[in-house]
């Protein structure tokens, strides 16, 4: 009987990749001075801080943080609304199948990419330096960040739509606006709403920490109490914002599941 030999795939390339990745990880850990043993030794220090924060938290402080939390939610709502509203027309312009002009969607995408790359916290600290402290700077930062995020996701959806409907309308002699209204919008709107809600979830989390750089909301109260080392109040703030964010997340993601 003939021997059946199954030649194994070449492993050289695969091993090389694994070695490179391992090298990158080890080099990064070394470069950043990450030492597992040191972390283990110091763990009890962390547990002491956690003890001062959460066992017990200063629950009598709770009434004082309701207003900042309400402000945080408002910032997230307004930021999401402005950013997502601006994102829809821009996404239509940035998609390469609606307007076929490289001169338009090339530069537009670069700008959107820059907006998305700069973290919301950095944007917020820039606006605090320009507009002064307060929720307004935070709203501007969240709007820009949401705009970049939602328009990118939306133009990718527009590019992936079923083109049959567009062609059907074109063969009937529909103009661009008709195509947009009757072929593109009905296909992308559920997705767009879902991205907007996703942006809202991201923004709630971002808004909760924006105050750290002076851009309003609960983060400001947090930073203040941390600076004064009122750790039991910090614990209350963390627990409270944690539950608010968790509840909003659960509501929003259950709506998203029904949308798409």
């Amino acid at each position: 009987m003939d021997k059946i030999s199954v030649s194994k795939p070449k492993k050289f390339k695969r091993n090389l990749i694994i070695l490179t990745v391992l090298f990158l990880i080890v080099a990064s850990a070394w470069f950043a001075g990450f030492n597992v043993i040191e972390v283990m030794i110091n763990l009890n220090k962390g547990s002491r801080l956690l003890g001062r924060m959460f066992f017990p938290p200063d629950l009598s402080y709770l009434p004082n943080i309701v207003d900042p939390m309400v402000e945080t939610v408002r910032m997230a709502i307004v930021g999401t609304f402005i950013g997502a509203t601006l994102a829809l027309p821009v996404a239509v312009l940035a998609a390469n199948n609606f307007i076929k002009s490289k001169f338009l969607h090339g530069p537009l995408r670069i700008i959107l990419n820059i907006f998305r790359t700069i973290p919301a916290l950095v944007l917020a600290s820039l606006f605090v330096a320009v507009f002064g402290t307060g929720p307004f700077s935070g709203v501007v930062a969240l709007s820009i960040f949401t705009f970049g995020l939602v328009s990118k996701l939306t133009y990718e959806t527009i590019e992936a739509i079923d083109y049959g409907q567009v062609e059907a309308l074109m063969s009937l002699g529909a103009n661009k606006m008709n195509i947009l209204r009757y072929a593109i919008m009905p296909q992308i709107l559920p997705q767009y709403m879902s991205y907007t809600l996703y942006g809202f979830e991201v923004n709630i989390r971002a808004a909760a920490v924006l105050g750290y750089v002076g851009a309003g909301g609960i983060g400001q109260t947090f930073e203040f109490n941390l600076a004064w080392r009122n750790f039991d109040r910090v614990g209350t703030i963390i627990i409270f914002s944690f539950f608010i964010v968790l509840i909003i997340d659960l509501i929003s993601s259950s709506i998203r599941k029904r949308l798409v």
């Binding site: 950043a32 972390v39 973290p119 600290s125 320009v130 750290y212 947090f222 964010v245």
Partner: protein, 266 residues
């Protein structure tokens, strides 16, 4: 010729519900706008914007080419190192969490608890984790790595468990019917099947962590954030400009490389 008229049925319940949703959504937006007081732009705003633009157009090149520990290249490299190590730590820890949250591995009751734990981790802000870890290991990059490592579990374990739940169970059942024990099933059936997706998700999280790592420095957890916030607070716009420009370029390049690898993996 007969006219074909398609009559649309009117569903009053549907319309009422829709109107109700619209009212709720617009009410919320209105409520939001009411609370954000616009105090007007500061008197100095136009001056600040001019200075900001001037600073961005004249980046601080001396800082960008300073190859010592205080220079920009070191801070950028440190940011990348934090992102890589943090992602690696979280990818490893995420696997047990993902198994705990997967319905087809531990059953539906346990997986619900697992999913809740994962959601809770995801909700906890990384900046606060960074503050906690700073008190553990002191200020610096290791605190940032731990913060990213823990926070990323929230997203990675969720995505991992989704891909475990949607995998083909045949291989697992075949091994079980041959008498394979739990770990044999795990390492020979479950993980090999989902590993390409796991790697792809890990890379995706690495891209996110690159951005997160650049803000961790705000609270003292290493990386580019600390020099950046310092430059913004002291309004040294030419330095802030060069940091933001280099950061945007670095993140964009890493995004491109990573998404190209992801496309080839899956």
């Amino acid at each position: 010729m007969e006219n074909i008229i398609v009559k649309k049925e009117i569903n009053y319940l549907h319309i009422t519900l829709r109107t109700f949703y619209y009212i709720v959504v617009f009410g919320l937006i209105f409520w939001g706008f009411k609370g954000i007081e616009y105090k007007g732009i500061m008197q100095s705003a136009s001056g600040s914007i001019n200075a900001l633009i001037k600073g961005f157009l004249n980046p601080d090149m001396a800082y960008a080419t300073n190859n010592t520990i205080d220079g920009l290249p070191f801070a950028i490299l440190e940011t990348i190192a934090i992102a890589i190590s943090g992602t690696f730590v979280s990818a490893i820890i995420s696997i047990p969490f993902a198994l705990l949250a997967s319905q087809n591995i531990v059953g539906s009751k346990v997986s619900k608890i697992g999913k809740l734990i994962v959601t809770m981790i995801r909700t906890f802000p990384e900046l606060i984790l960074a503050l906690i870890f700073i008190s553990v290991v002191g200020p610096g990059a290791p605190a940032g790595i731990l913060a990213l490592g823990i926070h990323s579990i929230g997203m990675l374990a969720k995505l991992f468990s989704e891909s475990i739940e949607s995998m083909d169970l045949g291989v697992k059942e075949a091994l079980e019917s041959c008498g394979g024990n739990y770990f044999e099933v795990l390492f020979r059936a479950v993980l090999p099947q989902v590993s390409p997706e796991l790697m792809s998700y890990t890379l995706y999280r690495f891209e996110i962590n690159m951005r997160a790592a650049s803000t961790l420095g705000l609270v003292g957890a290493g990386g580019i954030g600390a020099p950046l916030i310092f430059a913004i607070r002291t309004r040294s716009w030419s330095r802030a400009g060069v940091i933001i420009i280099v950061l945007v370029i670095t993140v964009t390049i890493i995004d491109q490389i990573s998404s190209r690898i992801r496309k080839r993996i899956v």
